[in-house]
């Protein structure tokens, strides 16, 4: 099988690969370029785990051939953080709001939400649901993903109030207590337990990014 030479700009770095015509973009990113942050949950275009930004637009990399992405710009989860490793508002919001559990769906959500908020920085509730409705998550029940999107919108708007507006816990009662013991949540907690920074630098590209 003759290979096709493709040149992609991935997370701002020019990358080259020789791929068979049938190679999926998801496999090319993961296995040829070593960017394994993009996940594959179904390989038939339904789960959204493999979502990356192609020229800024979310696409299913499992439904895209690497060869057709030749010459295009791609952003993967590895490229969402700032140049100094500073987490993007969307990444920060997901950490603050517990918007992930196993993390397998997360890169797809992060890419989707990044594009969503870029195009519509103040989405309505409906628009948030609509924007997320192409991505499956089997762990979170989506509650905290929706909160993460709202929180990310706040962060982007510069409304950084020092933490999320409380975890969505209801009252906690200890059996036999006469009174509610109060809300379990970091809201108002001076330590601001909700400010998870992203430790470490972004991985960006592996050494020898050019000409993989």
């Amino acid at each position: 099988m003759t290979n096709i030479a493709v040149t992609l700009t991935v997370n701002g770095v020019v990358r080259r690969a020789e791929v068979p015509g049938r190679r999926l973009l998801s496999d090319c990113l993961r296995h040829d370029l070593g960017l394994t942050g993009t996940h594959v949950g179904c390989e038939h275009g339904v789960c959204g785990c493999c979502t990356v930004l192609l020229d800024g637009e979310p696409v299913r990399s499992c439904l895209t051939l690497a060869a057709t992405a030749d010459g295009h710009e791609i952003t993967t989860v590895e490229g969402l953080a700032g140049p100094d490793g500073e987490p993007s508002p969307v990444q920060r919001a997901f950490a603050e709001c517990h918007g992930l559990q196993c993390g397998f769906c997360t890169p797809g959500f992060l890419c989707t939400v990044t594009a969503l908020l870029r195009d519509n920085p103040a989405p309505s509730e409906e628009e948030v649901l609509e924007g997320l409705s192409g991505n499956l998550c089997r762990c979170t029940g989506y509650q905290n993903i929706v909160r993460s999107v709202r929180r990310a919108a706040e962060l982007i708007a510069g409304e950084d109030d020092g933490g999320p507006a409380g975890w969505p816990s209801g009252p906690v009662r200890t059996s036999g207590d006469a009174e509610d013991t109060g809300h379990a949540g970091p809201a108002g907690d001076a330590e601001g337990a909700g400010r998870a920074g992203i430790a470490g630098g972004a991985t960006g590209e592996r050494a020898g990014a050019e000409g993989a």
Binding site: V40, L132, G141, P186
Partner: protein, 795 residues
């Protein structure tokens, strides 16, 4: 405890790597490894006549093709029956590759290894397997009536049959009690198949080190220690030469507790044989047809009750669909049978189940593990009683609740761990009161009336359950403080997104009095901890959480002993704050844990400045005592195990308000409320997340998910396009409240929470739809078209 960490919604420590693409899931490992693919049976039941691989040999990049005949005896033997039970008289398991008969679509027949997965699949496509198809057995009722057999040597297709009976206080059997009751009802209930369906499928990657003669296996598993033992035994390797690591795992929900999977045996075996790294990553279709499903049951219920709705006798007969094999024994129907009484005091109870083979994918636990079926049965029964007597549904439940002063409460049954089913604590009346308040049960009538005036149809429903969590036999924890002051915690069970690295670090930091940042946690790596059972049955926090707490207490004690010596103080006067051992009330008299760690390990060689302080000429406290005191061991570390006498019982109650469209019969959940009691919470944010995820899976099971088999045993909807899992648009906002009745059974007072969310959802939605429609709902899931048909049938 000196630090307010236990019980706090501490942000997760796994998130930074998972949010930046630095997680390491199975298929992210092993760049350059050979890859495996499988030829799987397209027939539900067939005899293999011939396998012709000749055309595949030509495929470029092909490395090896294996059929059953190529496997050594130990490798090709039937996989272990993991949980034998005397009632499982006809347990049957598959071989890693089918020998002569295939019993479900998807059963592996040929293994291909090639340079990459594309090429391996090319070869698979060229392999010709000649089958002689046999008639398939599909559906439990067909299976029990049919003359066709899934296994030739299992008459009637019945693998197991078990009866448990608890007589009334007056000594009446359930059937007698029902006959003598003022009111009786009998009816049938049905639940269809669903599946765990984690977004990451299974996968295994093996490296054989020929020089060291050792094997390292990475598997997307819920139990690395057991995979290790199983594979070492199969491959004839000493246990010490096999290590198994569960890397980041993209969800499990039960399916990954089964082991060893065929691929977990075959991939390491091929890696040894070929002397090359080999990897296999399951694709979605494979996951549908060759892993495991759950839920399907048919239940026949007879109940007798008095005028207040008190259950005097309950008799349930269950037909449980076990699929083609029983590797995980009969845990699921046992749990259904024993958790069925829920929070109620049942006069007399009899339960009988038959576990039946069919030519479908095997059935093993999926989050909830038989409990959703149990709650569906019990709660539908409560609703029937209420309807029959014209009572409020909550009143009937109240009339049957076990009261707070009745704990410990013995249900008289034998639970899945072989131990008596004794509830340790709970407060069911309070839980129901909280639930009614949260959902607005008493004012729902007005809401319904207002909606009705607009032509809208609303209904409300509820469901209660009790969940045995934290089953034994044990888990362990190891805690080591190194001379840099860092705390290294390890436990053998595995993680699939539950935030164990965070919750266990919270426990350790709180127990030891060290800052959270200094604690790191490793799970599921047999190199770090070799003794463990696994993550299932909502047991991780209870089992490993307590084991780690106990190990920390040992380390703490040792630290205080050593520090007391160094500070010339009484250990009783010492406290650990912020990683420093201090004399309480005497500021300035302190020694950092890092130094205590140095002192705990007398050294000969100075490899850094810290170590120099522990060497022989640095001033040993007393030259006439051995450097390592009698009864002590070098190092500041401790190991301990938690092994409870029996399970601890969490509980919960859910309610929902649904709207059904008068025209299209579409069902929408408008509100969903949860009151949950899992004792003390380690991290409420994580517990909350577990509940959300469980409820979403419950909503899937109630309204959307089913495995559609045709009569030939073909799974018609084996893709995410046709098997409908809820997206964000299908899951309602979930409102939660926590009640806290600590478990008296363990040091931390916690109960499990992992499965809670999913258990009563089908019961709750059925109750609410029934309330909206006035039509009896006794089959779940329910789709709009089914509701439409029910309406038509009701005329």
């Amino acid at each position: 405890m000196t630090t307010r960490l236990f019980g706090e919604p501490v942000p997760r420590r796994e998130d930074p790597r998972l949010l930046t693409g630095r997680g390491r899931y199975l298929d992210d490992l092993g760049a350059g490894a050979l890859e495996a693919a499988f030829v799987r049976s397209p027939h539900a039941h067939a005899r293999i006549l011939d396998i012709d691989v000749s055309a595949a040999i030509e495929v470029e990049g092909l490395v090896a093709i294996y059929t059953w005949e190529d496997l050594p005896e130990e490798v090709g033997a039937p996989l272990p029956l993991l949980i034998p039970h005397p009632a499982l008289t006809h347990g049957r398991t598959a071989r890693p590759l089918a020998r002569d008969v295939v019993r479900h679509v998807g059963e592996p027949v040929v293994m291909v290894v090639a340079r990459d997965r594309y090429l391996a699949e090319d070869a698979c496509a060229l392999i010709r397997v000649d089958y002689e198809p046999a008639e398939a057995v599909v559906g439990v009722e067909t299976a029990t009536r049919s003359a066709r057999l899934v296994h030739d040597d299992v008459p009637g297709n019945v693998g197991a049959h078990l009866v448990q009976e608890v007589p009334s206080a007056a000594g009446l059997g359930a059937r007698e009690a029902i006959d003598a009751a003022p009111h009786t009802l009998s009816f049938r209930l049905d639940i269809e198949r669903s599946a765990s369906m984690p977004l990451e499928g299974r996968g295994v990657y093996a490296r054989w080190d020929a020089d060291d003669r050792s094997l390292r296996i990475y598997s997307s598993t819920q139990t690395s220690t057991s995979v290790r033992m199983a594979v070492a035994a199969r491959l004839g390797l000493p246990l010490t030469k096999v290590e198994v690591i569960a890397p980041d795992v993209g969800g499990g929900f039960g399916v990954k507790i089964v082991h060893p999977w065929p691929e977990e045996v075959l991939v390491p075996w091929a890696a040894m044989l070929l002397g090359r790294e080999v990897k296999w990553t399951e694709d979605r279709r494979e996951h549908f047809v060759s892993s495991a499903h759950e839920r399907a049951q048919v239940q026949h219920v007879r109940v007798g009750f008095d005028d207040a709705g008190r259950v005097l006798g309950l008799d349930v007969t269950i037909l449980h669909d076990h699929g083609a094999y029983t590797p995980y024994g009969i845990i699921v129907p046992i749990i259904t049978a024993t958790q069925l009484p829920g929070p109620y005091r049942i006069g007399a109870y009899r339960v009988e189940f038959s576990s039946v083979y069919t030519n479908t994918v095997q059935v093993t636990p999926y989050r909830g593990a038989g409990r959703p079926q149990a709650a569906f049965c019990m709660e539908r029964t409560m609703d029937r009683i209420a309807a029959h007597l014209g009572l409020d549904r909550t009143a009937v439940r109240e009339a049957n609740f076990i009261q707070p002063d009745e704990f410990p409460y013995d249900q008289g049954l034998t639970f899945q761990d072989g131990r008596p089913l004794i509830y340790d604590s709970g407060d069911y009346p309070e839980s129901l009161r909280m639930l009614k308040e949260l959902i607005g049960w008493d004012s729902f009538g007005e809401l319904r009336a207002r909606a009705a005036a607009e032509g809208r149809r609303l209904g409300i429903g509820l469901g209660c359950y009790v969940e045995g969590t934290g089953v034994g036999p044990y888990e362990g924890g190891h805690v080591q403080i190194t001379s840099d002051g860092r705390v290294h915690v390890s436990t053998g069970l595995t993680s699939q997104g539950q935030g164990h690295e965070t919750a266990f670090a919270q426990i350790a930091a709180a127990e030891l009095g060290v800052p959270l940042e200094r604690v790191s946690v490793v799970t599921g790596d047999t190199r770090r901890f070799g003794y463990a059972v696994g993550t299932f049955a909502s047991r991780a926090a209870v089992m490993s959480g307590n084991a780690i707490a106990l190990a920390c207490r040992r380390v703490r004690e040792k630290a205080l002993r050593i520090a007391a010596d160094a500070l010339e103080a009484d250990p009783g006067d010492l406290e650990i704050v912020d990683g420093e051992v201090r004399v309480a009330g005497t500021p300035g008299v302190a020694v950092p844990l890092a130094t205590v760690a140095v002192l705990a390990n007398p050294l000969r060689y100075a490899f850094d400045a810290e170590a120099a302080r522990a060497t022989q000429f640095a001033g040993t406290p007393s030259p006439d005592r051995p450097p390592v005191a009698e009864g002590e061991e070098p190092g500041l570390e401790g190991r301990d195990y938690y092994s409870p006498v029996r399970s601890t019982f969490a509980s919960g109650m859910h309610a929902a308000i649904v709207e059904t469209d008068p025209l299209t019969a579409e069902i929408r959940v408008l509100r969903y409320a949860v009151v949950h009691d899992c004792g003390n919470l380690v991290n409420p944010m994580i517990v909350e997340g577990q509940i959300h995820g469980g409820v979403a899976q419950g909503v899937g099971g109630a309204l959307y998910e089913r495995m559609v088999y045709d009569e030939h045993g073909q799974l018609l909807n084996a893709s995410f396009m046709d098997f409908l899992m809820p997206y964000v648009t299908e899951v309602p906002r979930i409102e939660t409240a926590h009640l806290r009745t600590p478990s008296p059974l363990n040091p931390l007072g916690i109960k499990g929470a992992g499965e809670a969310g999913v258990i009563p959802v089908s019961a709750v939605i059925a109750s609410a739809v029934e309330d909206a429609e006035g039509i009896r709902i006794d089959r779940m899931p329910i789709s709009p078209s089914e509701l439409f048909d029910l309406r038509r049938a009701a005329g």
